[in-house]
């Protein structure tokens, strides 16, 4: 890199700083020039479909993968060069919850305690009871839900500064999912701690995340606070005075559907601004509704044929997908 990068002073430095990371596996590009900053404190949600690059990105944060180009800093350190300094302060639950199958629950706790200096045995015991984990049970015999809880216990019991959860809810029943979400909330309610989690269950992300990055095909489509994302997107229905064969171009529209006199647009922009734009087209706003995070994410996905346009979604309205 020829480009000079200036780092902010240490006290304001973000918890995770990913700068222009590209990762290829053979001919497949898993991450394409990704830059991402995770501030200290709060819940950061990584959202995207299967194969979007979420897990690959997380593995770079943990130092399990080395950046081919670009840099990764966690707590200001390179996680590949400082595995002890970084991993000791991270609680991690992987998507496949890889735990030593041959151990019993009590052995898993003892083993994990030896690994993390900050392990809190009383908290671990509290969690074990709350999760109803039998100390004598073999890990390999645990149900899917109990296995996830065991993994969560190990991730939480050393009260990590950073909790990283990769698709923590996938394949779990609602009761265990609630345990996981509650653990996320309790973690950040304790001053200054941070959670990074990936999920394709966007209703969960909408509940618990303060900040979101949308990932698609190894690229970041958008990253913003949840409040900003929700405030800046809406669905409006316009009623035109004359019959329209095609939806008239509306500034800020991401997609549209409808026919004749009424067309409904998914939009990026302030309510007032959209009303003005509608007025200029000779239409009236007859309905305005908020969008769920899932609807916003789907609207942000590039139209298949024009993938390259996805990079700067916020600035350029996409051609209407009808």
């Amino acid at each position: 890199m020829i480009q000079e990068v200036s780092f902010p002073p240490a006290h304001t430095s973000p918890l995770i700083e990913i700068h222009r990371v590209t990762r290829r596996f053979g001919s497949k590009t898993a991450l394409a020039d990704i830059s991402l900053t995770v501030p200290r404190g709060g819940v950061f949600g990584l959202i995207g479909g299967n194969g979007a690059g979420k897990t690959t990105l997380i593995k770079h944060v943990l130092g399990l993968l080395k950046a081919q180009t670009g840099t990764v800093a966690v707590f200001g350190l390179d996680p590949v060069a400082n595995p002890v300094g970084v991993l000791g302060k991270i609680g991690y639950l992987s998507e496949d919850r890889d735990l030593p199958n041959w151990m019993r629950v009590r052995e898993l706790l003892r083993y994990s305690q030896a690994f993390f200096p900050a392990w809190d045995p009383r908290y671990a015991e509290e969690l074990r009871e709350a999760f109803d984990l039998d100390p004598a049970a073999k890990i390999k015999n645990l149900s899917r839900g109990q296995r996830a809880r065991a993994g969560l216990l190990v991730a939480l019991a050393h009260r990590p500064e950073l909790l990283v959860l990769d698709e923590p809810s996938s394949g779990l029943d609602p009761v265990v999912r609630r345990d996981i979400l509650s653990a996320i909330i309790r973690t950040i309610a304790d001053e200054g701690r941070t959670v990074l989690f990936s999920s394709h269950l966007l209703d969960e992300v909408e509940r618990v995340a303060d900040r979101v990055a949308m990932i698609h095909e190894g690229r970041i489509l958008m990253t913003a606070t949840m409040d900003d994302i929700k405030d800046s997107h809406r669905r409006i229905t316009l009623r035109f005075s004359t019959f329209q064969d095609r939806p008239p171009q509306l500034v800020g529209a991401i997609s549209s559907m409808g026919s004749g006199l009424e067309w409904t647009y998914t939009c990026y922009g302030a309510s007032e601004q959209l009303k003005q734009a509608a007025l200029a087209l000779g239409a009236a706003v007859v309905e305005e509704t908020p969008l769920t995070l899932e609807e916003i994410f789907v609207s942000r996905l590039p139209v298949r044929s024009s993938r390259s346009q996805a990079a700067d979604l916020a600035a350029t309205p996409q051609p209407a997908a009808t």
Binding site: G42, R186, A189, D203, V208, A209, D210, K230, T292, L293
Partner: protein, 133 residues
């Protein structure tokens, strides 16, 4: 305090909390002087981000629905204040607007709607029987 959060219709979560607390206060299910759950407790109970609850409480405070006390804790304010009355009028107006819109669609005259409301009100009286003069 019964609050239900849904992510199905896209309404921001903080706003759902604000609206439901206002409704609980206006309907008397939260009384002046009642203590609100702590931000942390409500966040855990609703399974939502604590910052979202904090934002809801800030908005409720600005609207005069709740107040922070020096001894820590958030309480429902005395509802005799004009602010609270204005809020109750606003909430009721929303319901009336919806009713009027629907009656117009169904071709009811305003007088008919008012008559119908009187009839329904009379029909509801036996529910509070015994207290009648």
């Amino acid at each position: 305090m019964q609050i239900h959060i849904s992510t199905a219709d896209g309404v921001p979560i903080y706003l759902q909390i604000v609206n439901q607390v206002k409704y609980l206060v206006a309907s008397g299910r939260l009384a002046p002087g009642d203590e609100m759950p702590s931000i942390r407790l409500l966040a855990e109970r609703l399974v939502v981000n604590p910052n979202t609850v904090a934002r809801a409480y800030r908005e409720l405070e600005q609207a005069g629905v709740v107040e922070k006390r020096r001894t820590a804790g958030t309480y429902v304010t005395e509802q005799k204040s004009p602010l609270a009355r204005r809020e109750r009028v606003r909430l009721l107006s929303e319901r009336i607007d919806a009713l009027l819109a629907q009656s117009r669609q169904m071709n009811f005259e305003l007088e008919e709607v008012i008559d119908l409301m009187r009839q329904r009100d009379a029909a509801m009286q036996p529910a509070s029987a015994g207290a009648s003069p």
